[in-house]
Symmetry: C2
Subunit: 293 residues, 2 copies
C-alpha cells in the first residue's frame, strides 16, 4: 500500500509523523525537531526530512496538530472558543515551497474565563469522540501541562490546565531537591503524599523543602523522595480540580508510567478511570480531521 495522506503530531520538544492509508498507519517517523527548536522558516525543511521517503509525485495532504500552530510555531492557527466541538476551529494552510506538500495545521481551543488554551489535546479529544461519540465525562490528559476536560454532547464544555509535569521536572532536576532524589519509585510513599496534599493542599509550600530536610536528617531515600514529590504535586492538582473528577466518569489519555500515577491517585479517591492510549487517540483525531478537510 502507498500512503494517501500524512498525519503529524508536532509537539514542543518532539515531532511524530505517520504515513497513512485511510485510517491505517503504514509507517511512523519521529525526531527531536520540536516547535521549541525551530523558527517559522525551518518547519518545511524539518517536515521534509521526516517524511521524504513517503512523498508521491502529486500533492499529498499533511494534517498537523499541536504546537506547529502556536504563535512561535510554523503559522499561528486560531483557537475555537469552548463550549464547542473539539475540531470546531478548522485549520490554516501555511505556504510551502515543495509542490508535493498540501499542509493543514489544526486549530486549538480556548476558554475565556478562567483563561485557558490547548493545542494538540483537542485532536486527541476529537479522536476519543470519533471512537465513542456518546462519551460524556471528563478526560484527563497528563503531561508537561496536564489538561482536564469536561466533555458532553460531543462538545468540550470547559477545561483547565495544571503545570504539574513541568513543575515536577524543574524541582526534580534543577532545584535543591535534586540532591535528594533518584530514579526509582515507592507506591506507598506516592499514595501517602497524595492523601497528605489533598487533606491540606495549602501546606504544599512548606512540604516541598521537607523532602530535602527528611533526606538530610532522617535518610529519606531517593526513590521515596521522588515518589513523594510526585504525590504532593498530583495531590495538589487533584485538590485544585475536584469539580473535574468528583463523582465524574474519568478517562485518562496518555502513556505509562505517568498515566499510571494519575490512575493510582484517582483510584485511591474511589474512581475507576478508563485508560485510553494516547497515540491511538491522536491518530483517530487526525484521521477524522483529514476526512473533513
Amino acid at each position: 500500500m502507498t500512503p494517501d495522506w500524512i498525519a503529524v503530531d508536532w509537539g514542543t520538544s518532539q515531532v511524530r509523523a505517520w504515513a497513512m492509508h485511510g485510517d491505517t498507519p503504514l509507517a511512523v517517523a519521529r525526531s527531536d525537531a520540536g516547535m521549541g527548536t525551530l523558527s517559522p522558516g525551518d518547519f518545511e525543511a524539518a517536515l521534509l526530512t521526516l517524511v521524504q521517503d513517503w512523498l508521491p509525485d502529486s500533492p499529498i495532504a499533511v494534517v498537523i496538530c499541536g504546537m506547529a500552530g502556536a504563535r512561535q510555531g510554523w503559522q499561528e492557527a486560531p483557537y475555537a472558543s469552548v463550549p464547542c466541538a473539539p475540531d470546531a476551529g478548522g485549520c490554516v494552510r501555511p505556504q510551502v515551497h515543495d509542490p508535493r506538500l498540501d499542509v493543514r495545521i489544526l486549530a486549538g481551543l480556548k476558554q475565556d474565563r478562567p483563561a485557558d488554551v490547548m493545542r494538540g489535546e483537542e485532536t486527541q479529544i476529537a479522536g476519543v469522540l470519533a471512537q465513542d461519540p456518546r462519551f460524556d465525562g471528563v478526560l484527563c490528559l497528563p503531561g508537561t501541562h496536564t489538561k482536564w476536560v469536561q466533555v458532553s454532547a460531543g462538545e468540550v464544555v470547559s477545561f483547565r490546565t495544571s503545570m504539574t509535569g513541568e513543575i515536577f521536572a524543574l524541582l526534580a532536576n534543577q532545584s535543591v531537591l535534586r540532591h535528594g532524589l533518584s530514579d526509582g519509585w515507592d507506591d506507598a510513599a506516592f499514595a501517602d503524599a497524595v492523601a497528605e496534599a489533598m487533606a491540606r493542599p495549602e501546606a504544599l509550600a512548606v512540604r516541598l523543602f521537607g523532602l530535602r530536610a527528611e533526606g538530610l536528617l532522617h535518610g529519606l531515600s531517593g526513590p521515596t523522595a521522588r515518589a513523594r514529590l510526585s504525590g504532593l504535586l498530583i495531590g495538589a492538582e487533584l485538590a485544585a480540580l475536584r469539580p473535574y473528577w468528583l463523582g465524574q466518569r474519568v478517562a485518562i489519555i496518555g502513556d505509562a508510567p505517568l498515566c499510571d500515577t494519575y490512575a493510582a491517585a484517582l483510584t485511591a479517591q474511589g474512581l475507576a478511570p478508563q485508560m485510553i492510549d494516547a497515540s491511538k487517540a491522536t491518530l483517530s483525531g487526525l484521521t477524522a480531521a483529514h476526512a473533513k478537510t
Copy 2:
C-alpha cells in the same frame, strides 16, 4: 585601625567577608565563589583570594556562617536541635595550610518534626537577639528558601522553610511562563494575587498556567504577570504558614525589594512588620559568635 578578626557569610552562590575591629567593619569584600561552585579543597584558596590584603603575620580568627558548613561545603558543621539558642551548635575548625588563618565554621539548626534545617539564618537570628535579647515573636527571612522562625526567651522554638524564592525563579526564568513575564512590577496585581491565593490556596496548581493563558488571550502585561506570579506564590506561602504570623509580632530580615513584597503581603493581613537589615543582623551575629569562641 587594623583588623583583629574576619567575618564571613558564605552562601550557596556568593561569599562576603568583612575586615573587623571589634564590632566595627573596616572593609568588605565579596565574590561569586559560593559553596555551590567549590569543592572542599577549594575553600581555603577562595578565602585567601578574598581576604589576603587584611591578613596580619600572626593567626587571625575567621568566623564563617552559612553553607561553608554544609555536607557539600568546606567541612560539615553540626546542626543544633531546636528548641535551643540560635548559636547553641558551636563551630567546627577545618584544617588549613596557611598559618595566618584560624577558621571557625558556625553550626546550623535542625528541627526533627516536621523535618527542617537552616545554615546561616541562625547567625542572623543570633544577631537580632544580640541587639534585642528580649525579642519575642516571629522572624521572617525571605530568600531562595524563606525561613519563618518562632523566637521566645532567647531560643528558636520552631521554624519552617518555604521554597518560594527558588520556585519563583524556576517558573519565571525556565518554565513556559517565561514567555509572558518581563521586568517591572504591579502593586495592585500583587496584592490581588496574594488575596486570591490565600482565599483558595488549593487552586494554585491551575492558577499558574492561567498567567500564560491570560497573556495569550487577554494581553496580560509582562510586569503584571510577574507581580501576579510572585503574589500567588507568596499568598500560598502565607496560607501554609498561618500559625507563624496570625496574631504574632513579625520582623522581616532581608533586603529590598524582596522584603518589601513580604511586608506588603503581611501589611494587607493587618500586620505591621518590623524591618531588620540583613547585613547588620549577620554582622551582629558573627560578632557575638566571635566574642564567644
